[in-house]
Assembly symmetry: C2
Homo-oligomer: 223 residues x 2
DNA sequence: TAGATTGTTAATCGATTAACAATC
DNA sequence: TAGATTGTTAATCGATTAACAATC
């Protein structure tokens, strides 16, 4: 099995593997882990594609960027493919994540039990509102933003969740970048302006709603 | 201004406007509304593109699917373009949304104040856990799932948020479809299997994290 | 008018799919 | 072996971009 796989990174000007392919791997992994938990040992590109609403050809093509993981006539060993995808995505470990913003959403995220077994652990919760500092969220205690730099350094955090009010988001994001955060998951409904090399992903439910309503018959409440 | 715009829908086999274009319109709208709130009256494709990390050509091309909204030499009237995008996306109104799942995430969503001025209102919260029924979330009271069908009918809901545990998600989704829901925003980390014509969008923070870690230098906690 | 920016075209670029030889 | 499914190629399909005439 010769791996044609070479990691794309900041110093590698020409990334060979399209980002859109990388974006599908976590979906494949999630589905495989469900099969695994159900005790299924073998699957194939057709079955996986049916489950995900993706063509089997696309799944095979995507995987082929990283090596050969299947057997002709048989398909894929579920556990083996899981392991390989985890290695490719670098989630065969636990990444420490800091959470900024201890509002309702921050609480929900800090209490969520589903991070750990998929490669992530929230190691600190930060907020600047005096009445929030010291309160408990999940198994953690809210700390003031002044503690953030030391915490990020101590835990070697590279990933942050931004769950602060919109008006504070850009400034907090700037701070995160200054102290060494490389990837931000932003829950504020805003597009951040940050230097090259910082990766930001966004979660804004309203963006999804507005995408949906384009296709709906209009019988909503008039306002 | 001749509109070449015709809505794509279930009965219209060949949709002329790519879904990927539709998906960018809410981003444009979000950015325009921020400009508007800052008192800016005019913008152009270059400025908007810079803010969003998108080429100006793409913005002009996307908009051109729906009509002509700008002036040569000047650009776009911010308020006018907002209004037009809201009309295209059908968010020049308030859509009633039901929320299923009153856990931490459900609470956060029900309490979120940012839906209303972007076209959405949560009109009901449902859960099956006896200890949750009757409790208050945001300005609403949790009701049992048995009340859901009547509620959806009464409010003409077409959109639902699914914020239940993973193991319950597929069954609740089936129920939602049965009672007339057409669009589901799913927070469970799973790909739902639903009939044609039902639109599902997914929010799973871990998918974003795993996408990010592919590009990170690996110095995470070994486990 | 001169300068700026649109809307649109055509070229380029990239992603998906169909098909099939290889092979388990 | 016969049947099934992979990995890969080449063709198709679709999306993005560069360039510019039109025009405010």
């Amino acid at each position: 099995m010769t791996s044609k796989y070479e990691r794309a990174n900041a110093s590698d000007g020409q990334s060979r593997i399209p980002d859109i392919v990388i974006g599908r791997l976590p979906i494949y992994l999630r589905s495989l882990k469900i099969l695994l938990s159900q005790g299924q040992t073998v699957t194939n590109s057709q079955e996986l594609g049916d489950r995900l609403g993706i063509s089997s050809a696309q799944i095979r093509k995507d995987l082929s960027h990283f090596g050969e993981f299947g057997k002709q006539g048989t398909g894929y060993d579920v556990a083996y493919l899981c392991k390989q995808l985890e290695k490719i995505l670098q989630v065969d470990c636990i990444w420490p994540v800091v959470l900024v913003g201890a509002g309702n959403l921050g609480h929900a995220l800090a209490s969520y039990a589903g991070f750990e077994n998929r490669g992530f652990r929230i190691v600190g919760v930060f907020d600047n509102q005096p009445d929030k500092i010291g309160t408990h969220v999940g198994s953690l205690q809210v700390e003031p933003l002044t503690q953030l730099p030391a915490h990020v350094a101590r835990h070697h955090c590279r990933i942050a969740i931004l769950a602060v009010p919109t008006k504070a988001a850009q400034n907090v994001a700037n701070l995160l970048v200054e102290i060494g955060i490389k990837s931000i998951l932003c829950y504020a409904p805003i597009t951040l302006n940050l230097p090259e090399g910082i990766r930001v992903e966004y979660i804004d439910p309203v963006i999804h709603f507005q995408h949906m309503t384009y296709y709906l018959e209009k019988d909503c409440l008039k306002t």
